[in-house]
Amino acid sequence: MLVHLQGPWTPLLGRLTLQQIPFHVPILVVTFIVVAILAAMVLAATTYFGKWGYLWREWLTTVDHKKIGVMYILLGLVMLLRGFADALMIRTQQAMAVGPGSPGEMGAVHGYLTPFHLGQIFTAHGLIMVVFAATPLLVGLMNIIVPLQIGARDMAYPYLNALGLWLTTAGAALVMMSLFVGNFAHGGWYGFVPYFELPYSPGVGVDYWMWTFQLSAIGTSLGSINLIATIVKMRAPGMTWMRMPMFTWASLSTNLIALTSFPVLMVALALLGLDRYVGTHFYTAGMGGNLMLYNDLFWVWGHPEVYFLILPAFGIMSEIIPTFSEKTLFGYVTMVIASFAIGGVSWGVWLHHFFTMAAAPSVNSFYSVTTMLVGIPTGVKVFNWVFTMYRGRVRYELPMLWALLALFLLLVGGMTGMMNAFASNDYMWHNGLFVVAHFHMMVLVIAASIFGAVEYWFPKVFGFKLEQKWGKWFFWFMIIGTGWTFVPMFFLGFAGMTRRLDYIPYTQWSPYLHIMLVGMVFYVVAVLFFVAHLYVSLRDRVKNRVGADAWGTGRSLEWMTHSPVPAYNYAFIPHVNVLDEWAWRKENGLTELHPGDYEGIHMPKNTGVPLFLGMLFMGLGFALIWRIWWLALLCVALIVALIIIRSFDRDTDMTIPAHTVEQVESGARDETSVAMPTAGVRGGTVIAHSILQSGTSGISGSTTSTSPSLAPMDR
């Protein structure tokens, strides 16, 4: 104990006591029971079907960028659902707790959630959606697609890649743990000082928030190092800078942002941690601290982070729209410049997150203008997408629908963004719902792009298309839900309603709040449609099998290898001659993918070390949250030891022999032309059988001895 703590502390268990388990909150108890039953079912099913070995060999220890990407996306989807559940609770509470006469249930004065409980929910909602849903989804997509698009066999650092995944997962696991052990921060996802200092947030909630955030920040920084190095160093021969696909450009730009901004977040959080753990005075109001410093440090990361999320979304749109317009992207060079312009400007706008913090009018003017500058390259991008459709042959398949939805949402989000950048407007609604509605428009741009990307690249990763019927229901219900939820929210913004209220004193606002509930109902139905969409797609996977070029009009390198992609991506590394290489080859009839004799391929071996490191970091986070010092020291010691032991491991690589490559390749070639074998052999990642698995399981002796199957990932 280095600082004064409210509540008990013991050397053995730190602040952890039995009272920290929220038996008295019925919502959490029910949630816990549901989660426990689900977890038990999953574990039982894994055991029953004898899938532990498969899970360990093919997934938990993998260093294959595609599988890591898939796991990132699964993590993102699970957390997206959690964040959505939080959103439902916020909306319900606000619709119930309007006016002094509104009833209170379950111990709350108004509505059914106490302020403390609701505070945790909206903090978790924001943090999860930004850091544990959108970020993993996009990082996962970049992980899968970038190496394919540049003709590489793997990422530059496959081992680091797995480590990034498991660190992010460790953070997400801690967020989930805060539901049932202790509590989460109650104050808003970006943290407030001095509100998040120990005197005003005496519980463990802020510590949970801080360490989960920190873990994911470390994970994402490692990921960005990896992606930049991959793009810079691993491009196939002939792929010059100006032959790179737009999504790769967007990934490069976005990861440069991440690389330079995430360290600042780590500092912002670490200094808050020192305040809370050691009693320093970085952000305190008194004793020489400066609370405005936190806002600066946080948003120096926070705003680039926003573009870290939106740039890959733009990249996705730039891939989907040309494919389904059957035409080259309009203004490729301009698009590249615009991507980097957005990335560059993102560094000079952070002050608009606290226009109301009484900076001089000259300072606010500067940041108001720089913020508006973002509108220029963004506007250019919108026009370029429209002119890509111009003189095209636009096919409205699901990926294209999502991309166009993203385009329209971007128009709304962009317009309202320009309204926020206008500082005199912002003074009126800075912490209000207008801003909330605006950035939800923007994150829905990201969400729509992600759904589009999942539809678009799913056949590349799994070898079959997602079905269209339920997907379209999902799509339309998402749109209706968005309209019914966010139009009233813009109006509430004009009402001057502010964020994070658990009780709304003014009854005039209740109609809007009730209309928003209708929107939430549509969203709930949309989620059900999404589940049906996945279920039907998995069921009909044999029917929906596709070949290498799943959509028929693919343009870039990833469509030049089998769907699903073999472990080594390309049996032969393509030599790139032009931008849109695959489209060019198709035009000239050069579509043969098997030019001759196969060679052995050098690949990294699987390893369990990143998973163990992730677990140890989770243990470290848990120990620090509860101030169990001995456990923290133990985890640090084990982490250092494990890293050093791994560095002595010489057996980290393997060579896939030429005959195996030939076997896999001819298998993949036959299967795209001949009728499919029965279901169960090929298909969904999680439920599929491994037919080509070889070697032993478990880690015996060396830390890297598991042998994955070499075949495409769904075998």
């Binding site: 008194g286 309209g483 001057g496 502010t498």
Partner: protein, 310 residues
């Protein structure tokens, strides 16, 4: 998809409660003026772009009548237009934005300075202290204070100095003036002129803890004579506020019923005293029992603090 809720919101509730669209003060009027300009200019770009997009989507659909030219991907003229339009728009909006920022600058709003130059006349000073979770308005010229109720004379500039005892709050009266952060150990400023007599809602806009939702106050804009009358009657109030009394007053308290209160006499310099105390490390900490179980605490604190005068 978007129309039904829009119509419903407009039709079902008229513009009742849309406070930002019903400005009643000089600052909020200025905001409204620029806001409309901003929206109109943006719509001039957004609407044609939307129409263009829909046209391209329809015209160039597969099987449609549009010509097909898969290699067409560059045009200098179009490039010039797509860079030019956003550039010009942003240029115009930037100019307006900077002008607006100076006009409503909280520390010295251009519009109020201009009005004062024309009309002359004094302004009313109010020192605002945000506690967890109440608003204390001190009138240093009149040596009185009021809790959760701000009374201002119509047509007279009101100049605020603001600070907080514990965490950051945000001072907002939607129909009169925009937000300004209220920060502990620091002093910020704000200014407003109310155009019309009436009662306006005001609240904290920045999350400050469990009691935030109850941290609202009434702003009464009254005639000069009524204001003088109010000051006089308040000065008769037997309750006084000293430095020591303030230390008790500033303890976390949730004003569930609005809890207005007045002080007939306030120890001079209380505002600066609070800033100094906070800077030297004074902390009114929130008890864990309060953050984590507000409802019980609320009942307890009511029993304790009801009787106390400060």
């Amino acid at each position: 998809m978007v129309l039904p809720p829009a119509l419903l919101t407009l039709g079902g509730c008229s513009n009742n409660g849309l406070y930002l669209l019903k400005p009643e003060g000089l600052i909020s009027h200025t905001f409204y003026h620029y806001f409309i300009l901003d929206v109109v200019i943006m719509l001039l770009i957004i609407v044609p772009t939307t129409l263009l997009t829909i046209w391209a989507m329809w015209r160039y659909r597969k099987g449609g009548k549009g010509s097909y030219d898969p290699a067409w991907s560059h045009s200098n003229a179009i490039e010039a237009i797509v860079w030019g339009i956003p550039l010009v728009t942003v240029g115009v909006l930037s100019y307006l934005s900077v002008k607006a920022i100076y006009d409503v600058n909280p520390y010295n709003p251009g519009v109020i300075a201009k009005a004062q130059k024309v009309d002359g006349g004094d302004s009313v000073e109010v020192d605002v202290i945000a506690t967890d979770w109440r608003w204390l308005f001190i009138y240093p010229q009149q040596h009185i204070a009021s809790v959760n109720q701000l009374v201002v004379p119509v047509g007279t500039p009101v100049k605020f100095r603001l600070t907080s005892t514990s965490v950051v709050n945000d001072f907002l009266i939607p129909q009169l003036v925009g937000m300004i952060d209220v920060m502990p150990g620091m002093r910020t400023k704000q200014a407003l002129v109310a155009d019309k007599a009436g009662t306006y809602i005001g609240f904290s806009a920045d999350y400050s803890g469990a009691g935030l939702s109850w941290m609202h106050f009434q702003t009464k804009a009254v005639s000069a004579a009524q204001f003088a009358q109010w000051v006089k009657s308040t000065q008769q109030s037997p309750q006084h506020l000293s430095y020591a009394g303030f230390n008790r007053f500033a303890k976390p308290y949730i004003a569930v019923g609005g809890d207005q209160q007045t002080f007939g006499k306030v120890q001079p310099g209380l505002f600066d005293y609070v800033i100094g105390e906070v800077m030297h490390g004074k902390v009114w900490r929130t008890p864990m029992a309060m953050t984590e179980n507000m409802v019980n605490y609320m009942q307890k604190q009511r029993a304790e603090q009801k009787a106390g005068d400060y």
